[in-house]
């Protein structure tokens, strides 16, 4: 199990960081091109795009969608790990452990819905 969890971390984290970095570069370039440097000059800058606006053309073009998707993917990695453990428990027939893991996954899902 340990080896596969490590692989899961790499599989999810690397694209997530690539999306974040690529999106950030696009944000900087786009703002320079549109002469909106004032928006990006002061920290903390614009907030991450909400889930419902991820597909907005302006958000995609400015790189904010890519950055926000990368952040969401990274934040979802622990939940994916829990899901992976749940599947392993189900395959192994460890029903009590599977029930506990499912309960944890339900709470994590609740945090996503609240957010």
């Amino acid at each position: 199990m340990a080896l596969t969890v490590r692989r899961l971390a790499r599989v999810v984290a690397v694209p997530a960081f690539a999306a974040m970095l690529g999106g950030l570069i696009l944000m900087l370039v786009t703002d320079l091109a549109l002469d909106e440097a004032a928006r990006m000059n002061a920290l903390p800058g614009p907030a991450a795009v909400s889930v419902v606006h991820l597909t907005h053309p302006a958000a995609i073009a400015s790189g904010q969608s890519a950055v926000s998707l990368g952040l969401l993917a990274l934040a979802a990695l622990p939940a994916m790990t829990v899901l992976f453990i749940l599947v392993r428990h189900l395959i192994s027939g460890r029903w009590v452990d599977a029930g506990v893991t499912a309960a944890l996954l339900a709470v994590l899902t609740l945090s996503v819905l609240i957010g």
């Binding site: 199990m1 340990a2 080896l3 969890v5 490590r6 971390a9 790499r10 999810v12 984290a13 960081f17 974040m20 970095l21 999106g23 950030l24 944000m27 900087l28 440097a37 990006m40 000059n41 920290l43 903390p44 800058g45 614009p46 907030a47 991450a48 909400s50 904010q64 950055v67 926000s68 990368g70 952040l71 969401l72 990274l74 934040a75 979802a76 990695l77 622990p78 939940a79 790990t81 829990v82 453990i85 452990d97 506990v100 893991t101 309960a103 944890l104 709470v107 994590l108 609740l110 945090s111 996503v112 609240i114 957010g115």
Partner: protein
């Protein structure tokens, strides 16, 4: 702006290295750095720190054998309480003032300094197979479940409020109260903190308290720092680092307390 982003990445890298070396989690270092050096609102810093804790967990997991010695059954059960606490803490953070959060954070930093001091006092045992085996023995039965679950929910709430991982509560509770061997408690806590932070991170994200311009360079720095720290762990005398860190933590606690009291 480019220099600022590089500075954020450098701060994240340092927090990641120290977090991986000392088993602290970078949040206790990251939040003060972001508020005191970059003058960011503490709620923004907490949101960034939660992403950083997840990045630390991902970084360490990607290079080492994750969960070595961890009791997954115990961790998952305790993590239910911790995650519920994290959600509640994150929601509460939206109603507290920046000053209140700063004062609370100062208390967390002092508690972390005390926990780190306790670790330095523990005499390193002989590096024999028997000693290691004792740290990770499996013939134990966790006790005091109600207390353990209660304390885990407190750790989760504090994580949601301050952007820390909560390990400085989880490890002592598992070890001192629930009869879990120290090595198992530490490994289980390392597994748990990322999940706790993730629960809080989504609440902060939904509230609009995650800012990519700050979070991305910091998270990248933390991720690379955690990988570096994990690789350095076997070559560095962590006990000497801990002594230096205690002084830094006390200084940080004083500054955060001052910030909370004066509102500057």
């Amino acid at each position: 702006m480019l220099w600022t982003l590089m500075a954020l990445a450098a701060v994240g890298f340092g927090a990641g290295v120290l977090g991986a070396l000392l088993g602290l989690g970078g949040g206790v270092l990251l939040v003060p750095a972001l508020t005191l050096i970059f003058k960011l609102p503490i709620r923004v810093a907490v949101g960034v720190s939660l992403i950083g804790v997840i990045a630390t967990s991902a970084g360490v997991s990607s290079v080492s054998r994750p969960g070595r010695g961890a009791d997954f059954g115990l961790a998952l059960r305790l993590e239910i309480a911790s995650t519920i606490g994290a959600i509640l803490g994150s929601l509460l953070a939206g109603y507290l003032s920046g000053q209140a959060l700063a004062i609370l954070f100062a208390g967390i930093v002092l508690a972390t300094a005390y926990y780190t001091y306790q670790k330095t006092r523990r005499k390193p045992g002989p590096a024999s197979d028997a000693a290691v085996e004792a740290l990770f023995r499996t013939d134990y039965q966790p006790v005091h479940w109600p207390t353990g679950l209660g304390m885990m929910s407190v750790a989760g709430a504090l994580s949601g409020l301050t952007g820390t991982g909560g390990g400085f509560i989880k490890v002592p509770v598992m070890y001192s109260i629930m009869n879990v061997p120290l090595g198992v408690a530490t490994a289980s806590s390392n597994f748990m903190v990322g999940i706790t932070a993730a629960a809080s991170a989504f609440v902060y994200y939904g509230r609009g308290d995650v800012y990519p311009l700050v979070a991305v360079p910091t998270a990248i720095g933390v991720f690379l720092g955690a990988i570096t720290g994990a690789r350095l762990a076997s070559h560095v005398r962590a006990d000497r680092l801990r002594i230096a860190l205690i002084g830094v933590l006390i200084l940080v606690a004083v500054q955060m307390l001052w910030k909370g009291i004066t509102g500057t």
